[in-house]
């Protein structure tokens, strides 16, 4: 019974999903009720997970499921940002007539999948979580059924994701073949340096995972899917799966394959450099804000991977700090996107921001802070995220990676300040509506203030993260 207490959050959310589905089916016009109940159950979930945060690291179910500091923190991040996503998107769904009962239930299922992924310590459990997450996301991507772009993006995501899952599974089966087990810790014990088959397995598994966080060269789906999906789903794509997949990256690299760092380090460095450079260069020509976010998130994932490539605790911690600040910046940025509404229509082109500072000074100022932070200019939070990464990278004397990373920051700064230029220097357009719902305003205010005043007390986050020692 002890074991069941530890997975109470997972049990709760599974029951909540089924219960909410029942309500939705048997009660007419219950979509907003289900939506609100989902938000509440996410809040309950958050507190349940927080409850477990004091427990020391334990493995349950024959070592296939792990509750440790890393898992708890990442789950808190996933569920916390899930709550904020729910808060920001409710009005968007109403206006675009997407507020069906399936929508929040699908989000909850994908969050359940992510939680399982984060805690998994076994290939099979990991794969189950991954597929639960992905299946829910395929449907969400094409949720706007009548929209050609949305259905296309759902199909595209499904096809490519299935391919990558296939690669991943092939890698997993190779691991099983050579290590004769699916448990992460036992793989570590059974694997030997001389088993070349495992090297193949690493390549396949990393390729599959890189697809999930859209690292170059497995990024092709991201811009189309980001642009085509409804914005309320794009915000999920940009934040939640990245947190989960990054955790899985940490687990794979530092538990089963910890002995084979010579093989994977070069792969991670390559993924990181390619993502940073490509994310910076390809975003320059974009006209659509959602597409731009896709490229910028590719670049940001490059930085997070740079931290992972260092093989040190500090590197892992810096990646976790990076992803935490990244998710706040993205929440803030998408909240701004949701505010660009006029006559029941949402605008998402960069040109639609033109002259925003004249009619909406506060919104423009928030965007200014967010964009400079995304560009990594001090004293905003984004700078500290990069600072910790480069601290870790330079500690390991990986100067090449550091220099490429910082130079691509300069290139990336170009397209961020180009948006600022459009907001502040260009002629104004028609006013947007200002009657936003409370959840959206709160999300924007909280996240922007966090970004702005992070430098006053940067220790809070580092203290929490410094308790995570994987190696």
């Amino acid at each position: 019974m002890e074991n069941l207490n530890l997975i109470l959050p997972e049990i709760f959310i599974s029951i909540a999903i089924m219960f909410l589905l029942m309500i939705g089916v048997f009660k007419k016009n219950s979509s907003s009720l289900v939506y609100n109940l989902s938000t509440i159950s996410l809040i309950v979930l958050l507190s349940l997970i927080y409850n477990l945060s004091s427990i020391s690291d334990t493995s349950i179910f024959n070592g296939s499921y792990k509750i440790d500091k890393l898992a708890t923190l990442m789950k808190l991040l996933v569920v916390g940002s899930g709550i904020f996503v729910m808060l920001t998107t409710s009005k968007y769904l109403q206006i675009n007539k997407l507020n069906k009962i399936e929508y929040p239930v699908l989000i909850l299922s994908s969050i359940l999948g992510m939680i399982v992924m984060i805690s998994s310590n076994d290939l099979i459990v990991f794969y189950m979580g991954l597929e639960l997450q992905s299946l829910a996301l395929y449907v969400l991507a094409s949720f706007n059924r009548d929209n050609l772009l949305s259905t296309e993006s759902g199909l595209k995501y499904f096809t490519l994701s299935a391919l990558s899952s296939g690669l991943l599974l092939y890698g997993c089966s190779l691991v099983y073949g050579f290590a004769e087990t699916t448990n992460f810790n036992e793989i570590l014990n059974n694997s030997k340096e001389s088993q070349y088959g495992l090297t193949f397995a690493i390549v396949f598994i990393l390729a599959g995972l890189a697809f999930k966080i859209s690292a170059v060269p497995f990024h092709m789906w991201a811009p189309d899917v980001y642009q085509g999906s409804p914005t309320s789903v794009t915000i999920i794509f940009a934040i939640l799966p990245k947190i989960a997949a990054l955790t899985v990256f940490i687990r794979f690299l530092y538990i089963p394959f910890a002995n084979m760092s010579e093989q994977w380090q070069i792969i991670i460095v390559f993924l990181s450099i390619a993502s940073m450079l490509f994310g910076a260069v390809a975003a320059i020509g974009q006209k659509n804000l959602k597409r731009l976010v896709a490229y910028s998130s590719i670049g940001h994932m490059g930085y997070a991977l740079a931290g992972l490539s260092t093989e040190t605790n500090q590197g892992i911690q810096s990646s976790i700090i990076y992803i935490s600040i990244y998710l706040v910046m993205n929440l803030a940025f998408f909240s701004c996107l949701f505010m660009l509404r006029r006559n029941e229509k949402y605008y998402e082109k960069i040109d639609d921001l033109s002259g925003l500072s004249k009619n909406h000074p506060l919104l423009a100022f928030s965007l200014l802070i967010i964009l400079f932070s995304l560009a990594g200019i001090p004293p905003l939070a984004g700078f500290f995220a990069k600072f910790y990464i480069f601290m870790a990278v330079i500690e390991e004397s990986m100067y090449f990676l550091a220099i490429i990373g910082l130079l691509s920051t300069v290139v990336a700064a170009f397209y961020y300040i180009r948006i600022i230029k459009i907001i502040y220097f260009d002629p104004e357009k028609e006013k947007y509506e200002t009657n936003h719902h409370l959840g959206l305003k709160v999300t924007l205010a909280v996240s922007t203030i966090f970004i702005l005043i992070y430098f006053i007390y940067p220790n809070g986050l580092t203290e929490i993260v410094s308790k995570i020692n994987i190696i």
Binding site: F372, I377, P378, F390, M391, I403, F425, N459, T462
Partner: protein, 498 residues
């Protein structure tokens, strides 16, 4: 626990900016916002004067130290001043109120935001000169990009977007390499605390690369040839107050950085790279002076003259002589005052005639006699006429250079002649001669507030020209300390090699 005077100096403008942001101003031209900004900046000026008064000029240590834990484990928020940085602090707090008064007519829209940007900028600039930790220094150094980018971009002229981008990306590219160097220093020496680093020193084998990384940042900011091209663009397009801040203070950050960090942290590398600095400085002095001769736009001419003057500064610093370094610091302070004054002068005629082309002006002496007089003073100060502050700096720099290298000093002296040529020619074309344009006749002479700000600049320029003692007193001990440390390091290194 002492009163944290430096932190309050740094924070006061930001507090003022927040106040302006939230305070309601009567809608006619934001008069009250301007008075608040002016009051805050003047209070800050008085505070810095008080700081100078209680500052112990005979001591070589950093004073008014504050040390607080900031990034747990590795970086502390540490500020302090010595005889060198205190002068730059006073320069900053002196120039800021002048900028704020000068916006009277030049800024037509969004005055409130402009004042906020200027005050935030002041915070960052003061932070640069106070910080005694490399990461804190970097933070302030980089953060200044944001308000300056907005000042050029929002309130600038025709090609403001291009200039703002060029300014931002040039400086960012230079500084990211410095960030790598700072982090490397942390892993090499175990700290980024400047005072600690002075004590323990940095291993000679790393110094050259680290020096180059710092150099890349400071060279862009100084600016040195060939990365100076952002400066004329930024100056031309920035509003008058922006140009003043840029020329008077932002450029000095790099000179300050050379003295404090390049000489202090990497003495062996500094010695090694002296020929490079000499070459670049001489090219800057001679080449940009020639370029300045050819300019048709007044602001551009003054911008190029800034590059030439900063060439003297870098030359003086890397002579590693007492005269050279003291001269450089004096030259920076003097150039801060003179270039600010010249940009304000250009601003005065630009407001009236809406062009900066030299050919559109002529014969202003008969229309604006008072203007002609103050402009004369500033022109002569820019040339370095004895009796103005410009002379002392240039003279000391050249003296230091003659001590080290005769040829370099001779070529640099050429620059003085060229400087006289382009400034006097500019003066002749604008102030003397025929009145080329009928419109000019309607131009009014200086208004009261213009007289106020221009005369408040004339006074220190003449005063320090005749009596440089107060400034010299303040920097002497610190410069000697910098040089002693430098020479000690060089001799130790030689002894170690032998």
């Amino acid at each position: 626990m002492n009163f944290p005077i430096l932190s309050s100096l740094i924070l006061l403008p930001t507090i003022g900016a927040i106040f302006i942001l939230f305070a309601k101003s009567s809608n006619d031209k934001y008069q009250s916002s301007k008075y608040v900004a002016l009051f805050i900046s003047l209070a800050n000026f008085l505070l810095s004067l008080y700081l100078w008064y209680i500052f112990d000029k005979t001591s070589v240590d950093f004073q008014f130290l504050e040390n607080r834990e900031w990034l747990a484990g590795f970086v502390n928020y540490k500020v302090g001043v010595d005889g060198i940085s205190i002068l730059f602090i006073i320069l900053t707090t002196f120039i800021t109120p002048i900028c704020i008064i000068s916006v009277n007519e030049t800024i037509k829209h969004k005055l409130k935001e402009f004042l906020i940007a200027i005050l935030i900028m002041e915070t960052f600039m003061l932070g640069v000169f106070c910080s005694l930790d490399l990461v804190v220094f970097y933070l302030f150094f980089e953060a200044g990009l944001i308000p300056m980018f907005l000042i050029i971009g929002i309130w600038g002229g025709q090609r403001r977007v291009y200039s703002a981008f060029k300014f931002f990306l040039y400086t960012l590219l230079g500084s990211v390499l410095m960030l790598i160097a700072i982090i490397s220093i942390y892993w090499i020496a175990g700290t980024t605390d400047v005072e600690r680093l002075f004590e323990i020193g940095i291993d000679a084998k790393y110094q050259n690369l680290l020096w180059l990384a710092f150099f890349s940042s400071f060279a862009v900011k100084t600016p040195m040839w060939p990365v100076h091209t952002w400066l004329p663009d930024a100056h031309v397009e920035a509003p008058t107050a922006g140009s003043v801040l840029l020329a008077a203070i932002l450029l000095k950050m790099a000179g300050y950085g050379f003295i404090r960090f390049s000489l202090g942290l990497f003495p062996i590398a500094s010695e090694y790279f002296v020929p490079l600095i000499y070459t670049l400085s001489l090219i800057a002095i001679v080449y940009t002076s020639l370029v300045a001769l050819m300019q048709e736009d007044m602001k551009k001419l003054i911008a190029y003259s800034s590059v030439a003057h900063m060439g003297f500064v870098t030359l003086g610093i890397f002579t590693m002589t007492e005269q050279g370094i003291e001269g450089s610091i004096f030259q920076m302070i003097s150039h801060g005052l003179v270039s600010a004054a010249l940009f304000l002068c250009v601003g005065v005629v630009y407001e009236r005639h809406h062009t900066r082309l030299i050919s559109k002006y002529g014969g202003l002496v008969s229309i604006m006699p008072r203007y002609a007089i103050v402009f004369m003073v500033f022109t002569l100060a820019a040339i370095g006429l004895p009796g103005t502050s410009g002379f002392v700096g240039e003279f000391l720099v050249l003296m230091g250079t003659f001590k080290k290298n005769f040829l370099v000093a001779t070529i640099a002296s050429l620059g003085v002649i060229l400087g006289a040529a382009y400034m006097l020619w500019l003066y002749k074309r604008i102030i003397f001669g025929e009145i080329v344009n009928e419109d000019l006749k309607s131009m009014l002479d200086l208004k009261r507030f213009e007289i106020l700000i221009l005369f408040s600049l004339v006074i220190p320029i003449i005063f320090f020209g005749f009596y440089p003692e107060p400034l010299m007193n303040s920097i002497e001990a610190s410069v000697e300390n910098v040089l002693d440390m430098y020479n000690l390091n060089i001799t130790n290194n030689l002894a170690y090699k032998n």
